[in-house]
């Protein structure tokens, strides 16, 4: 049965991808990208990788779609005709595809319990992590503790993305072009619905943030969901109102503080005589230490992701606002 579901989902995925290639209307392409992400999320659910599915749905289908729409508002919705011959790129893509297919020929059989990925490193994560780390959700144990350095690196990747966007677009608060009239002032229904939904989204984000130890969730997803709440606010009530709630400068400080919070856990464990990011040293009881460490670093991730996503949205939409004035 799962095989059938997988096949159907993969077929839909392939169809969506083909449609994306041939469509010229970029607005439709962005929508299809959202669908593509949701389909991938479904496949991940079918593979029992709920954490990955959750991230894919929140990041791939959620925030990426919003940011791509923000880009379209700046660039226009139609793809420009490409005059150059596409023969060489086509050849390169075909060769790459052929190597990928060739690589699958010796692949371990799909879904077998005795595949190398399940036999070498993973058994310790599965058998010992409840005692060593003490969390019911092993995925969180692996990403926040065993491979916590990678997660720090990924948080810094998100932070670097913010630096890139600020360098290219920047956000100027004192910009006169942003009048309070922007936003959807005349839509009363939207106002009421948004006011009802936003608190719930924020509450859900907090739940996802702190429930990551026990079920799917964690800082990345929570940060994105919280950013979505503020983006909704900015869309309905206008950018200036959103700026007065959280200012762009404050967000930059938050993004930095999130990274620093994560890294300071590492520094503290070094001061306590452990290695960098050794949570065992954070408390007298190693399991408690692991728990404190994971909660704090997940918070750091959540703060940075939230601040970066919202900052990027601010950067795009203040550009759009400036463009509209002109």
């Amino acid at each position: 049965m799962t095989l059938l579901i997988d096949l159907v989902l993969l077929a839909m995925l392939a169809l969506t991808a083909l449609r994306i290639i041939f469509l010229k209307d970029l607005f439709a392409v962005v929508m299809l990208f959202g669908i593509y992400s949701f389909l991938s999320a479904l496949i991940f659910v079918n593979l029992d990788a709920v954490d990955v599915a959750f991230t894919e749905a929140a990041v791939g289908a959620g925030i990426s779609t919003v940011l791509m729409l923000g880009t379209l508002a700046l660039t226009g919705r139609n793809e420009r005709e490409c005059e150059r011959s596409s023969l060489l790129p086509l050849l390169v893509v075909c060769v790459t595809g052929a190597v990928l297919i060739y690589g699958t020929l010796d692949m371990p059989p799909f879904g077998h319990a005795d595949n190398p990925v399940h036999e070498h490193v993973a058994p310790r994560y599965i058998q010992d992590s409840p005692q060593e780390v003490g969390l019911p959700n092993m995925v969180t144990s692996v990403l926040a503790s065993y491979r916590g350095f990678d997660t720090l690196g990924e948080t810094v990747v998100v932070f670097s993305a913010l630096i890139g966007v600020l360098a290219l677009l920047g956000v100027r608060r004192e910009d006169n072009s942003l009048t309070p009239e922007s936003g959807l002032k005349s839509h009363l229904v939207l106002h009421v619905v948004a006011k009802l939904i936003i608190p719930m989204i924020i509450l859900f984000a907090l739940y996802v943030q702190f429930h990551g130890d026990f079920g799917p969730g964690g800082g990345f997803q929570a940060g994105v969901i919280a950013a979505a709440a503020f983006i909704l606010y900015a869309l309905v009530f206008g950018l200036p109102s959103a700026f007065s709630v959280v200012s762009p400068k404050f967000l930059q400080v938050m993004a930095s503080l999130g990274v620093l919070l994560y890294a300071s856990v590492g520094l503290y464990s070094m001061a306590k005589g452990g290695q960098f990011l050794d949570y065992n040293k954070l408390a007298a009881n190693p399991i408690d230490g692991q728990h404190y460490g994971i909660i704090i670093i997940e918070l750091g991730v959540g703060i940075t992701v939230f601040a970066v996503m919202l900052s990027i949205f601010y950067a795009f939409s203040s550009q759009v606002a400036r463009l509209n004035i002109r």
């Binding site: 310790r124 916590g148 350095f149 630096i163 890139g164 360098a167 400080v253 620093l260 050794d278």
Partner: protein
Amino acid sequence: MFEQHLAALPIILPLIAAPIVLILGRSTFAWAFATLVSAAACYFSWQLLWVAFDSNVISYAVGGWPPPWGIELRVDTTNAFVLLAVTALSTLVLLYAKDSIENEVAPSKHALFYTAHLLCLAGLSGILLTGDAFNLFVFLEVSSLATYTLVSLASDRRCLVAAFRYLMMGTIGATFILIGVGMLYMKTGTLNMLDLASRIDLYDSSRTINSGLAFIMVGVSIKLALFPLHMWLPPAYTHAPSAVSAFLAGTATKVAVYVMIRFIFTVFGVNHVFEEMGMDLILMALAIVAIFKCSYMATVQSNVKTVLAYSSVAQIGYMILGLSLVSAAGLMSGLIHIFNHALMKGALFMAVGAVFYRVGSVDISAFRGLGKQMPLTMAAFTIAGLSIIGVPLTVGFVSKWYLVTAALEQSHWAIAALVLAGSLLAVIYIGRVLEAAYLQSASPDSEPVREAPWLMLLPMWLLVLANLYFGIDTSLTTDAASSAAEWLFQTTESAAQGSAQ
């Protein structure tokens, strides 16, 4: 306490400093703080190199989890040597950057420049020190994103197109590396490089492993701008701010060369990559074409930064050529050239940046008469240029010497001759600039030009002196490179024997 964490400090210091710079972003403070942090990272990597000399390998288990379950930082003379070059160049470039950046980058973006520079440094250190294939990818992303940002910071609008091309090619390269690492993980169930190496031996002829190898090699080749995948590099280095060109030309692509060395020698094993897959011939052919095609391209450019950018691609050719000789001597010449090239290209780009600071153009015609008007800058350019050519008493000569010796050791007479012929092309492209500077006089109606400010001259001349010092006293570079090369060959051979038994 510092000795214990020596392997982690060059990564975490700039990593933590970057957000602090963004928060406190006053221009002068940001500059001083970033320079200090970079200098500290350089000091620790110097210490690290000496520890690596004594004990060969330092393993640092991040988070206290032993490898392969946790992430390991693994330092030997190879990466400690390259790290020293990267951190030292970063410190000198930051010293130089203050005046240069004030001239070339909008004031509101100064703090962003220093933040991005520190992120790039942290990423490069991470790539160098990590012993984990996926962790390498994560730091590759950190350094790449920071690099694209740095290139796009110039006030010249053309830098945006250059940065965008770089972004596209770089992302394809990084994705290929990720696909390759994924294939290795699928087949072996581990991400730690040493663990990968011992388990890959079990599946030497597996198609999945071989396609993984192909993806990683192509991905890294894009990152290190191996001909013909170098098209992103000349525009990026031409239009980036001068300080960025000076830093990236000496570090970013060279760290990618290190990644290639690491994957070939430590992960896949030299027997598998070179003898069974025959990649040495492919690399050798591409390297030779790179040397000649790009040296020739350098001779016909009118923008001096483009000249130096094409020269960089040609120099990468020399490194890969050394690698493709499949001998300890060849590998050693490649490693020495990574270090030496950072010294010479750093000095050259700094000199060109100083000319841009005073004259406002880096076209070859702008150099007319500068030999008299900016004597110190042009003297620095001349010495570093002689080093690129490979004149004795400079580091360039040391690099070429070891490369030619390595080629002759295997009786590759043609290759030795080609290396020398490549130097002749370098004579032409460096000579064109020198001719404009010293033999032509400035047009009479142009305004007089003053010498560059001392804060730009100081790091430039430190690099020039290093060019001469390491050209005469080669003990540090040759010791480090030869012990690294022997160590890499020894481990790969013992691994091969281990699997044969």
